[in-house]
């Protein structure tokens, strides 16, 4: 396929528009990638600098959570339209898993 044609099967898709979209998209990706590297860096520091356990654990968990969100929303495109159902399933799965783990931590004795 020639470079100046859109890769979409739909001939009406505007090439310029798609290009601009792709550029914006790329900028978001690079930004979030940089953020993620930075967060990983902090995580390493927290561990290497031997911070107190009660400080380090929450920070690490928080950073991990943020990474998951960035990963899902920017790299896996959940921020885009039409991902509502995927999000619904993801969150219900997470909810079920959370309740299950909570049960083990609180009421199940074994």
């Amino acid at each position: 396929m020639a470079t100046h044609e859109s890769t979409s099967a739909n001939p009406k898709v505007n090439y310029e528009y798609r290009r601009r979209k792709a550029r914006d998209e790329m900028r978001m990706q690079v930004t979030s990638f940089a953020t993620m590297i930075f967060m990983t860096f902090i995580a390493f520091i927290v561990v290497i600098a031997d911070f107190d356990k009660y400080y380090a654990f929450p920070v690490l968990l928080l950073l991990a959570g943020a990474q998951v969100v960035l990963q899902l929303y920017y790299f896996m495109h959940m921020s885009h339209k039409g991902h509502g159902t995927a999000a619904l399933f993801l969150y219900s799965g997470a909810l079920i898993a959370f309740i299950t783990v909570l049960t083990f931590l609180t009421i199940v004795w074994w």
Binding site: F89, S92, G93, I96, T103, I107, V108, W109, W110
Partner: protein
């Protein structure tokens, strides 16, 4: 089963079915293999009942009894009930939502072949040194110690067929989300589609815990790990948790599609729209969700502690509420309807009281303190057979009669159908009703023999006689199927005359592209709406155009075959290592070759582009709706 197919010669048909990606043919494959395993499981059940017919019987040995019992449960749940449900889901759901196929036809075929090879692998255990013998639940404390390869067959077989099930579930989810015809909103989907959707979501969330459990078991048994070995610091209860976190949702995976089939049958033969449609949908989703919060009711006597038992008891009882909503809605759909007692409708009517009986014993079992008495007795056996046979199996039999014309273009004989129904219903209640009392009298489940003079003789004999009634009913059904296909009287689009949903708007069986033009859906029960306005067909939602179709493929078969071969290697490498590398030297190469076949076929699939083909508009115009009548 079409006449064209018969003229094409046996090998051509076989090749067609081995490579098909058409949801209608995959449905037939599921029906045949699920039906076969149903007969195998049924035979095992007959042996169990013969052994228990009289006290102190010696029909089978204790060890063989354990194998029969384990294989009966495992086969019926994983290899009969689920695939048979998949048969109807495949045959009907794409038609009900107005789609030309499922979202991923290739994966659909892969899912089937994985299930098939997993099932064959599991059953080969009979001929290769003994079947699994630790119950269908295969509790680790027992199964880790089981000698021979039985449990290894169980672990590997279920792992392979479980992957197939997971694939099938995901495929239905994507299909229902993405492939609905114009106008087919979520709240216009027929109840069978809805229940398939929820059941598939349950598969998506429930099968991974089973996979994890099976993997841990696999490592314990095959590679010397100690996840469940208490003496090495493991924890044997973890298996029970993992199994039931899967197991309870699994029973809803089975029952929800049956609910869906019954909902469609009841509204069709009452000539009424389903009463409380929105409540029905909500109840289905709620049952699915709550199904994940109750697993520990199978473990009340494990010693989880009073808090856990109390909370799980309450959560379990809560499920009875949405279930009750559904029961009342079915009754109210029939209320004031103009009811026709066809064979499927007879099943539907009989299902309601039978299932309620099972639900009531369920709530009794859910009360944790009382469960200390019931647990592991025949009372539990009676409970789950009431819900599974009275619910799922009646649903499958109803579905067989109801959808047979849509799948094969012929109508099963109604008189024989009713004979099957009555024999089966009488046999079912005869077999299992008395088991409640056997349980209350103290007969433990999974017992090989009992002594005379303990008051258990009469009821056990009645139970066995009931089982023979069910067996005869199944034989009548088989006879019915054979004569129907031999006579081969073709039927039209809507053989029941009262079809309400999209599948009845197209020929039986439908042409391979299903809908020449996608239909425009204008409400719930779309065909009924058109009928009420004097039309016999759906209004098309698009002009006639080219239709894109997927190519057939042999790769799913090969991919699954590779895993099947690898499983033998994985299993016999235990003996290879135990013999210090002396014997079974072929095991490791077999494992590697099997994996290479699978990975190789995956690579072929990924690297080779397969864009499918188009049916051109001109061909469609010639093909004046003779499609299914070929």
């Amino acid at each position: 089963m079409s006449t064209v197919a018969q003229k094409r010669g046996f090998l051509a048909v076989l090749w067609d079915y081995l490579t098909t990606v058409d949801h209608k043919k995959i449905a037939i494959l599921y029906l045949i293999s699920g039906g076969f395993f149903f007969l195998v499981g049924g035979l095992e059940a007959m042996f169990i009942r013969i052994q228990l017919a009289v006290p102190d019987n010696d029909f089978v040995s204790a060890g063989l009894y354990n194998e029969l019992l384990t294989m009966h449960g495992t086969t019926m749940i994983f290899l009969a009930a689920m695939p048979l449900l998949f048969a109807f889901m495949n045959a009907v759901v794409p038609l009900q939502i107005g789609a030309r196929d499922v979202a991923f036809p290739f994966l659909n075929s892969l899912g089937f072949w994985l299930f098939f090879f997993g099932g064959v692998f599991l059953n080969l255990s009979w001929f290769m040194g003994g079947a699994p013998d630790a119950g269908w639940t295969s509790y680790a404390s027992l199964s880790i110690a089981s000698p021979g390869h039985g449990i290894d067959f169980y672990v590997l077989g279920l792992q392979i067929s479980g992957a197939g099930t997971l694939i099938a579930g995901i495929n239905f989810l994507v299909t229902i989300i993405n492939m609905r015809a114009p106008g087919m909103t979520y709240m216009r989907m027929p109840l069978f589609t809805w229940s398939t959707f929820v059941a598939s979501a349950l598969i998506l969330f429930a099968f991974p815990p089973l996979t994890v459990g099976l993997f841990l078991m696999l490592f314990d048994r095959m590679f010397g790990a100690n996840f469940f070995n208490v003496s090495m610091g493991g924890n044997t209860i973890i298996w029970e948790h993992l199994f039931w976190i899967f197991g309870h949702p699994e029973v809803y995976i089975l029952i929800l599609p049956a609910f869906g089939i019954f909902s469609d049958i009841i509204s069709t033969f009452s000539k009424k729209r389903l009463f409380g449609y929105a409540a029905m949908v909500f109840a289905t989703v709620l049952i699915g969700f709550l199904g994940f919060m109750v697993w520990a009711h199978h473990m009340f006597t494990t010693g989880l502690g009073p808090t856990a038992n109390a909370i799980f008891a309450v959560a379990t009882m809560a499920i009875a509420v949405p279930t009750g909503v559904k029961i009342f809605n079915w009754l109210l759909t029939m209320w004031g309807g103009s009811i026709r007692f066809t064979t499927p409708m007879l099943y539907a009517v009989a299902f309601i009281p039978s299932f309620v009986a099972g639900g009531v014993t369920g709530v009794m079992l859910a009360s944790a303190a009382a469960d200390y008495q019931y647990h592991d007795s025949y009372f539990v056996v009676a409970h789950f057979h009431y819900v599974i046979i009275g619910g799922v199996v009646l649903g499958l039999l109803a579905g067989t009669h109801f959808y047979w014309p849509k799948m094969f273009g012929t109508m099963l004989n109604e008189t024989l159908g009713k004979v099957t129904f009555w024999l089966f219903l009488i046999g079912f209640h005869g077999t299992f009703f008395v088991q409640h009392f056997l349980g209350l009298m103290g007969m433990p489940r999974r017992i090989w023999k009992y002594l005379p003079g303990q008051g258990l003789d009469l009821f056990n004999m009645i139970s066995t006689i009931g089982a023979f009634f069910m067996a005869i009913a199944v034989l009548v059904l088989l006879y019915n199927i054979v004569i129907t296909q031999v006579k081969n009287v073709r039927v039209g689009n809507d053989p029941w005359g009262d079809g309400r949903t999209l599948e009845w708007a197209i020929p039986s069986p439908p042409p391979y592209y299903n809908f020449k033009q996608l239909p425009l859906v204008r409400g719930l029960d779309p065909l009924w709406i058109e009928k009420m306005e004097g039309r016999t067909e759906m209004t098309p939602a698009e002009p006639l155009g080219d239709i894109h179709m997927p190519n057939n493929s042999f790769i799913p078969f090969v991919m699954s075959l590779g895993l099947f071969i690898a499983a033998f290697g994985a299993m016999y490498q235990i003996d290879w290592r135990e013999s210090g590398g002396e014997e079974f030297v072929w095991s490791l190469p077999v494992l590697i070759i099997g994996m290479l076949i699978t990975l190789g076929s995956m690579a072929v699939r990924s690297l080779k582009d397969d864009h499918g083909y188009h049916i051109h508009k001109e061909e469609l115009m010639d093909d004046t709706d003779k499609g299914g009548k070929e």
